[in-house]
């Protein structure tokens, strides 16, 4: 016998008479699964820690006195396992457990949303008894109770597998639901006053009683998806369809830069629900509630279905045919091109293909580099940073985040601004060694759940901290450490320069995390005033030549001067210097100064809006062209990693992509190049009508040979001084807020975190307010009044407000951005400011 060295990290066991090799520590149920042996189970979930709560997975293991739960039993050398397929004992044990589970299970299948895709239904059929011996009265609870405005809980159906509570605790960190009570009264519920001797309201609806804490987790939808019975259901999908009615299509989420893969289920031309897709590299099996439920905008009443044209006589928008509207758009844009030029605001919600169409349209049809996708406060430094450190780079992945020893997060609240990145960070923190350092004004709920160490930062001070704070430098010293910066750093002069320099100095890899799904793709597609597609600098003649070649135009035809960014476009338009604006899905209230943006739209000679729903832009546009929402087109997003998230059409409709509309307009725009002057009737051929054609064009574009531009080196500025009752404003957007894609979705809005104004202890003492008192934050433009929440770690002169939540719209009400100095008063505003207060 040759002595074969046995690998010490594997064991050999027998399952149902078949010998199999498994890794040490693997669970019996997983090994069986790999072999194609299905052991029935409820509580077991590959991404949750083993619990052994339901006992459905019992198997017979030789040498064990009783059947063993295969979802908690790890493999051992020489183990002999017999499942229900080969062992009477296992089959009988499983049948018994099933009978007990069904003893108290109501006969709800006909009305239950899970019916038809229910693991309990299915496994009762495959592994249960044909009849029940239980004749007694079943346990009764009040039928479904709202544990949040979105999630309903039917405790009669619950089999107490604790998947939901384990998800909430282990993965999301939101321990809002838990097992309560004892014995046969044991149940899942939210924390309620009446459980702890309080009064409660007794109406079963969470959140109404004083001490009730509703299930307002950003990730609550995942519990509905993994509940193996119909105990947890969602308000939106309630009773809408049966699984056999639905056509399922894999797709990608259009909301944030996390890039979750999803599954959209539609019936009769309407998407009825969306589920988290299974993509281990990105979202694993989870998504956030915004992605799961935030798709009502597709069917909103104010969706634009036909082209609209401003009637010269009445000044009102009227419906028009496509040919009329396209011609009007082309003529108006051609005239505007010769009359000061056209600025393009592309917005951050475009697919890569559509963004590329805008980039190409701006350069070829409008002859300008005045194009910017950034619909938020921004800076020129940021554009340089994006060109130098982000375009075309995909250095950091989710896996890197999970396995990193340390991560410094600046200008980003991961839970609010990139929920799946937050889940990965949390996985790294709870299961591996990740230590998070937050450079932030205070430890938000999300950072607390990441066990983050705080480097307290007054907004505007991040640049100095990145350049010189010892804690930040120490955190990045470990090999594999990550520096994760958010898009909000754009408003801090010098911060992105300092981040790039710090990355270079410490060797830490840098990841830039924007907020919207289309942001990252728009950079690589060339929707920036300083970048052509593929991260090619506008100012580099060689880069321009490459693009001319790819676009089949004469060299020298492309505009050479770097263009204006969003702020400059808005300012130029407001000053009457621009002939026209071409606006994709941009909401003026997202820009640094919404009032100026609206003035710009009013002042611009000619405005073309490509939109889904009526907005502040369409109200001011001369031509409005309807475009397809994500579900009705195919496309690709680039998530923050730079990973392609391609998706195909879910609902085939006649709605057109932005690229197709732009191609149609371009075909009617005469080329403005002198060489083509003689044949002015010939329009410009953009070639962006078909998503596949764009993908081919992008795919065949050779990588650029021009040198990457150097990172910006902008100096940090000093913090502004604050007087008494003045503070520096910190702000970011909460995950569920008044974003235009969530507008009108009241059920989802009900799970948002209540807007508060967070003030430091020093400010609270100065104003004489305690938690819950009204505090007014004011600028010269307006004021916002919200209940105060005194926040311990906030630096003394900092106040925090949500950027765009009910009662707190920073840009619109205050006209400032983070880092500005605001005035604070206790109570509601006096009569002068009250008039400018938007909502309270």
């Amino acid at each position: 016998m040759t002595d074969v060295a046995k690998k010490t990290d594997t064991v050999t066991l027998t399952i149902d008479g078949i010998e199999v090799t498994a890794e040490k520590g693997e669970l019996v149920i997983r090994v069986a699964e790999r072999m194609g042996i299905a052991i029935p189970r409820f509580c077991d979930h590959p991404l949750l820690a083993p619990a052994g709560a339901c006992r459905q997975c019992l198997v017979d293991i030789e040498g064990q006195r009783k059947p063993v739960a295969s979802c908690t039993q790890t493999v051992a050398e020489g183990m002999v396992v017999k499942t229900q397929l080969t062992s009477e004992v296992a089959a009988k044990a499983q049948g018994g457990v099933m009978e007990l589970l069904l003893a108290n299970h109501p006969l709800d299948c006909p009305t239950c949303d899970k019916g038809g895709e229910c693991p309990l239904q299915n496994q009762a059929m495959t592994n249960g008894r044909a009849d029940s011996r239980f004749k007694e009265h079943k346990r009764e609870y009040e039928k479904p109770i709202h544990i949040s405005s979105q999630v309903l809980l039917d405790r009669e159906r619950c089999i107490l597998c604790q998947r939901c509570t384990r998800f909430s605790e282990e993965i999301a960190g939101d321990k809002f639901i838990d097992l309560m009570d004892r014995s046969s009264g044991e149940q899942i519920n939210v924390y309620r006053d009446d459980f702890f001797g309080g009064e409660g309201t007794g109406d079963g609806q969470a959140g109404d009683g004083e001490g009730d804490v509703p299930f307002n987790s950003y990730f609550s939808g995942n519990t509905i998806q993994i509940c193996p019975v119909g105990a947890l259901t969602g308000e939106q999908y309630r009773f809408r369809a049966r699984p056999f009615d639905l056509v399922s299509t894999p797709t990608a989420c259009e909301h944030c830069a996390a890039g979750c893969s999803m599954r959209a289920d539609h019936r009769r031309g309407k998407v009825l629900r969306r589920l988290a897709g299974d993509d281990p590299a990105v979202n694993e099996e989870w998504n956030c509630d915004k992605g799961r439920w935030g798709f009502q905008y597709q069917t909103a009443d104010d969706r634009i279905m036909t082209p609209l044209l401003r009637d010269a006589r009445t000044g009102e928008l009227r419906e028009a045919s496509w040919s009329e509207a396209l011609l009007a758009a082309a003529e108006g844009l051609t005239a505007a091109r010769g009359n000061g030029g056209v600025g393009v605001l592309a917005g951050g919600r475009l697919t890569v293909e559509d963004a590329y169409a805008y980039a190409k349209f701006a350069r070829l049809a409008l002859g300008t580099n005045d194009i910017d996708f950034r619909a938020r406060p921004l800076s020129a430094e940021e554009a340089d940073f994006l060109a130098a450190s982000v375009a075309g780079v995909s250095d950091v992945t989710y896996e890197d985040v999970e396995n990193a020893p340390s991560a410094v997060i600046v200008g980003l609240e991961p839970e609010d601004e990139c929920p799946i990145l937050f889940l990965r960070l949390r996985k790294g923190h709870t299961r591996k060694k990740l230590q998070v350092t937050a450079v932030a004004p205070f430890l938000s709920r999300g950072f607390e759940k990441l066990g983050a160490a705080l480097v307290p930062a007054t907004p505007g001070d991040e640049a100095r901290l990145l350049a010189g704070d010892p804690a930040v430098a120490a955190a990045l010293a470990a090999p594999g450490a990550l520096l994760i910066v958010g898009e909000r750093l754009a408003t801090v002069p010098g911060a992105l320069s300092a981040a790039a320099a710090l990355g270079a100095r410490t060797g830490a890899r840098l990841a830039w995390v924007p907020r919207r799904a289309g942001d990252r793709g728009a950079i690589d597609a060339g929707c920036l005033p300083n970048l052509l597609p593929g991260g090619r600098p506008v100012s580099d003649p060689a880069a321009r030549a490459e693009i001319s070649l790819a676009w089949d135009t004469e060299a020298g035809k492309l505009p050479t001067a770097p263009g204006r960014d969003t702020d400059a476009i808005v300012a130029a338009a407001a000053a009457g210097q621009l002939g026209g604006l071409l606006v994709a899905g941009v909401d003026p209230s997202d820009l640094a100064d919404p009032r100026l943006a609206e003035q710009a739209l009013d002042a611009a000679g000619f405005v073309v809006s490509l939109e889904l729903r009526h907005s502040a832009v369409t109200r001011r546009a001369d031509v409005v062209l309807p475009v397809a929402p994500a579900a009705e087109k195919s496309g690709t997003y680039l998530n923050w990693e730079g990973r392609l998230r391609s998706f195909e059409t879910v609902l085939p409709t006649t709605a057109m992509t932005d690229g197709r509309v732009l191609e149609a307009i371009a075909a009617l725009i005469p080329s403005n190049h002198p060489a083509a002057a003689q044949e002015t009737t010939k329009g410009i051929s953009l070639g962006t009508g078909d998503v596949m054609a764009i993908r081919r064009e992008l795919g065949t574009m050779p990588p650029t040979r021009s040198a990457r531009s150097v990172a910006p080196a902008v100096a940090a500025t000093a913090l502004p001084g604050t007087g008494e009752h003045e503070a520096v404003l910190a702000t970011w957007r909460q995950a569920i807020d008044q974003g235009s894609l969530l507008e009108g979705d009241d059920v989802l809005a009900g799970t948002a975190r209540p807007p508060v104004v967070r003030i430091s202890r020093a400010l609270a003492a100065g104003l004489g307010v305690i938690d819950g008192d009204a505090v007014t934050v004011a600028t010269d433009r307006g004021a916002i009044t919200l209940p105060a929440e005194v926040t311990r770690e906030l630096p003394p002169h900092v106040v925090w407000l949500p950027t765009n939540s009910p009662g707190s719209t920073i840009g619109r009400s205050l006209g400032v951005t983070a880092g500005a100095v605001v005035r604070l008063t206790a109570g509601r505003p006096g009569p002068v400011l009250a008039s400018s207060e938007v909502t309270a």
Binding site: P110, T111, G115, G116, K143, P144, R238, F239, R240, A241, R242, F244, D245
Partner: protein, 215 residues
Amino acid sequence: MGTFTGSFKGFGVTFAHMFRKVVTTDYPFTPPTPAPRYHGRHILNRHPDGLEKCIGCELCAWACPADAIYVEGANNTDEERYSPGERYAGIYQINYARCIFCGLCIEACPTRSLTMSNEYELARDSRQDLIFTKKELLAPLLPGMEQPPHPMRLGGTDKDYYLGALDNPGTSVGAERAPWSESGTEDAATAVDADARPETAGTLRRPGQSAKEAV
């Protein structure tokens, strides 16, 4: 000769038939009565207080081999209740251009909401009219019934309805032969005798003739 006897032989068949029982029916003047369990058009039955028995579960649609049934469930509220329990059929349609009258839907229905009547006169002159909705399918309100939406009158919970249904079945029992089921459910139990039976497509009587005379 052979021709002569041959024709008599042929007439013999004719003559013999003159003394046999007639199988021709006088349809449409006298519509024949089908067998008691004949599979005719469907009925959506009611509870004794008028609430709908259908819970919008779609099991009938699931069972249907012809894909003839379309159901969309909806949420009952205390303010607006159409059936006991949480769920009712917001939309219910049977497409008689597809239905093959197999009765599998009846077997699938968990609440005995769906039954089949004996009515067979389903010809219509457009496809659209062949799609019967809740309006056509719901059983009429018998005496003592109330038009939903209204609160549960028979007890506090849906269980009271389902447990009581054994002794108090509403319109489910005898629905096949109920007078109203013969003539379209819209017309309530008033149409008891054959003369009052409204004319559906193709049942025009000869002028002045009663249904009995037509026999």
